[in-house]
Symmetry: C2
Subunit: 341 residues, 2 copies
């Protein structure tokens, strides 16, 4: 351990994810090795669970990290709100308090998503003017990725919430992709203005009346079609689309296998095509996106997929560092103020 | 033309679809050639538009068909309800009246979906006990296809409607796939009972209390995953998933092209892989499913995709004949009665 060399400190939930703490620690050290002294990493978790794992990664060089002991663990399957009440010193709560108390610039977790969502809102608080914090997910397109939000934080949404999701999503895309005016689409069953349910109809009017770059209603095909930068929907629809999309690679792999089984020619083609398929399907894979932040809370909290690999954890840490540097919460707050104006 | 040789008569909207009447007529004659004298086809549309096209298919053998003149045409983009009011003699209205008046056993159309949906309910009427007729869409899985409904007929649904969709979808899967007890899943954001919005929570209770084979909540990944035979959702979610799914092949093709562009090796692999990709993506293509019927109306009305090919029209006619033979409306009515018991 070396003294604190930079101002950027990232707290990571060392107990969160299907392969925690091994994958978390591996990813954290990959990040530290790759970008020495650009940031400090706080490994938040049960010290006695972390220390044996740390022996395995045995950092050769002096890297900037520290264990922050959190004696409790919220398991993946636990009901979030009860777990947060009964486990005040979980790695999730301890990590988020580090952000609240300005001891870390960001918190990263691949743990129980519901618990991270709730705890982030409870501990960090909401930004002024935010009704519901939201989490998005990045979908690949033929060009630049498309941010779909809400991806599951808010199942029942009012029009005002949908509008805020759009404004916050646009602020995020401006921050990480440098887009001056991200194009926002409202996910609907048709492009005409009167389409959809009551919530989407009213949200349409709110977007139209705002200074945001609103292109109107978009359909399911526009997500992968890349016609907009931000797609707004409630968390019920967003979560279903997210999980449907995640299931496409496994479906295609099974179909390719079936194709290859049918003939010798098929087997040969299958062998050759495998690498192309792998490369193409990788884009549909969440692990390469490196997690997305919860938008609308007063701090930076990045939520990763439970199945995150060391590579995914490394990418999440890099994303966290970038968002700290670019002061994401301040950008969002500013965007919300001008969107409401 | 030969005299009416069988009792099964299929009326087809010759003016419906992006390539009408050419593709409709081609598909109809392919069906008649393939299954001579199994059914009679009524080509419903503007006689002067159909006759020149009929010259091109020039049936060699005596086939069992007839033109039923319908002087008006509802265009694809017209607002359905206004079009139905102002065009009482559209091919859609005339064709459905043939079914209502027992002059045809089924109506098949790839025309304006909204107009076919509304006209089917208005002209054929609902089956007793049906709050909302519904339309489903078949998704491929590694095994047997999965019926997702509602696919867009009802955007805002009450729990009772979702329950009826499940019962009617199960009756359909029993009819066409011979499944004794189709497994029904309720599309939701998690598998636990308390998940989702108010409508899904109450629908869950209705399914649980029924004699249907209800497996509980399912997630977006279960559609392609093939864990159930019928997936129930409202038409807002269903339509978005349907269109998202339809956009996957184009996305993958673009990605494969990009992969092939990157290197000589990539180009070679791309050439070889193309046939495998085509075969695999064909399953994701709506055209091979041959349309799905509107469930819950007092008659058989099959709605196809606007882009239907001659092959798709042929398949729709075969599906129509099968559903007439198996008396789909009676099966649905029986299923609804026992589901409510």
């Amino acid at each position: 351990m070396v003294p604190h060399t930079t101002e950027t400190v990232i707290a990571i939930d060392a107990m969160g994810g299907d392969h925690a703490p091994a994958h978390v620690i591996e990813g954290a050290f990959q990040a530290l090795h790759t970008a020495t002294r650009r940031f400090r990493v706080l490994l938040v978790g049960r010290r006695e669970a972390l220390e044996p794992e740390l022996g395995r990664v045995a950092p050769e060089r002096a890297l900037d990290w520290e264990i922050v002991d959190a004696p409790q663990v919220i398991e993946m399957g636990e009901p979030p709100n009860e777990a947060l009440k009964s486990k005040k010193d979980s790695s999730i709560a301890v990590g988020l308090r580090l952000v609240r108390d300005s001891k870390a610039g960001a918190f990263v977790s691949a743990g129980n998503t519901g618990a991270v969502l709730s705890a982030s809102t409870l501990i960090l608080g909401r930004l002024p003017g935010v009704g519901r914090p939201t989490i998005g997910t990045l979908f690949p397109t033929a060009g630049a990725p498309c941010l779909v939000l809400d991806a599951g934080a808010s199942v029942d949404c009012r029009p005002r919430h949908l509008f805020e999701f759009g404004a916050m999503g646009a602020a995020y895309m401006t921050t990480v992709r440098g887009l001056a005016r991200p194009r926002i689409g409202l996910l609907n069953v048709g492009e005409e203005e009167g389409k959809g349910n009551e919530a989407t109809q009213e949200a349409y009017r709110l977007f139209r009346a705002s200074p945001l770059e609103f292109v109107g209603n978009v359909e399911g095909r526009d997500i992968l079609g890349g016609t907009v930068d931000v797609v707004v929907c409630d968390g019920f629809v967003g979560n279903i689309i997210l999980k449907f999309g995640e299931s496409v690679p496994a479906f295609l792999k099974a179909r390719f296998k079936e194709f290859a089984r049918q003939s010798l020619r098929g087997r040969l083609i299958g062998l050759v095509a495998r690498s192309a398929l792998r490369s193409v399907l990788r884009d549909l894979d969440y692990q390469h996106h490196g997690g997305v932040p919860l938008l609308g809370v007063n701090g930076i909290s990045i939520i990763g997929h439970g199945g995150s690999t060391p590579l995914a954890f490394m990418n999440m840490i890099f994303r966290a560092e970038e968002l700290v540097r670019k002061e994401l919460p301040a950008v969002i707050q500013q965007q919300l103020q001008s969107a409401h104006a």
